[in-house]
Amino acid sequence: MKKLLPATLLLVALTAQADSYSLPKHAAFEEECSSCHMAYPPQMLHADSWRAMMGDLSHHFGSDASIDDQRRVAITNFLLAHAGGRKTGDTRDAQGKPLLRITQTARFEKKHRELPTATWQRASIKSPANCAACHTRAAAGEYSERWVQIPK
């Protein structure tokens, strides 16, 4: 019985989660990883992707996002601790190399298959990485259908 209770709680938590990715609190992650864009949920990539990204912040998608070593290590540990699980799916490319973009993962492609190419190119959206353009509560980790509004 004692063992059943946590298992039930876990199941409830997992189902209730649907498509909210709770953003665990971490001061350095919030400050450093939400200054140029909203914070992407750590759960959306596996550990190897985060490790690769955090290993070269000076060349971060064409931007210099370098930080001091102490913070880099702290944020890396945080990302690894909360990295993706089963739901995250495959986050490697055809050669088996870890992908750095959530927007290139199989799960992302599957969830957005119905959106026409022209939509992504609208001036109000500009990039698929601009989650908050359509997911109005993305900054809080909320991606469920209820909070989707595609701008004109």
Partner: protein, 126 residues
């Protein structure tokens, strides 16, 4: 006595880390060994120097107003101290962003003279 020392040390640390925008102008001018020019700063800030971006691409050419990240669209609060009291109050933050943003716009770090000029211009904005 021991306590007094600790209190004194804490007070000192607190005052030493809180900086004002003027302190940065002084520091960069000293490093450059020359006076700053707000006019030069304005030109530097608003013109592209071979790259895809100028400072204005994200901070606008009137940095008393809010900007927008040229690639991600994220809103950026005003850079000019007159419009945003949080700006230029933390040396680690100021140094970090000068390093990153200069690399992104110029493909190199900014010289002390360039930073002094930018500071002089930002401080002149009302």
């Amino acid at each position: 006595m021991r306590y007094l020392l600790i209190i004194a040390a804490t007070l000192f640390a607190a005052t030493a880390s809180a900086e004002t925008p003027r302190d940065f102008l002084t520091r960069f001018e000293k490093e450059a060994g020359a006076a700053a020019s707000a006019q030069r700063g304005a030109r530097f800030f608003t013109s592209k120097q071979g790259g895809e971006w100028s400072c204005s691409s994200c901070h606008t050419d009137k940095p008393t107003q809010a900007g927008r990240h040229a690639k991600t669209e994220k809103a950026i609060t005003p850079l000019a101290p007159a419009a945003n009291a949080e700006r230029f109050t933390d040396a680690a933050k100021v140094d970090k962003w000068f390093r990153r943003n200069c690399n992104d716009t110029l493909n190199r770090v900014c010289s002390a003279q360039e930073k002094a000029d930018v500071m002089a211009w930002l401080l002149s904005l009302r």
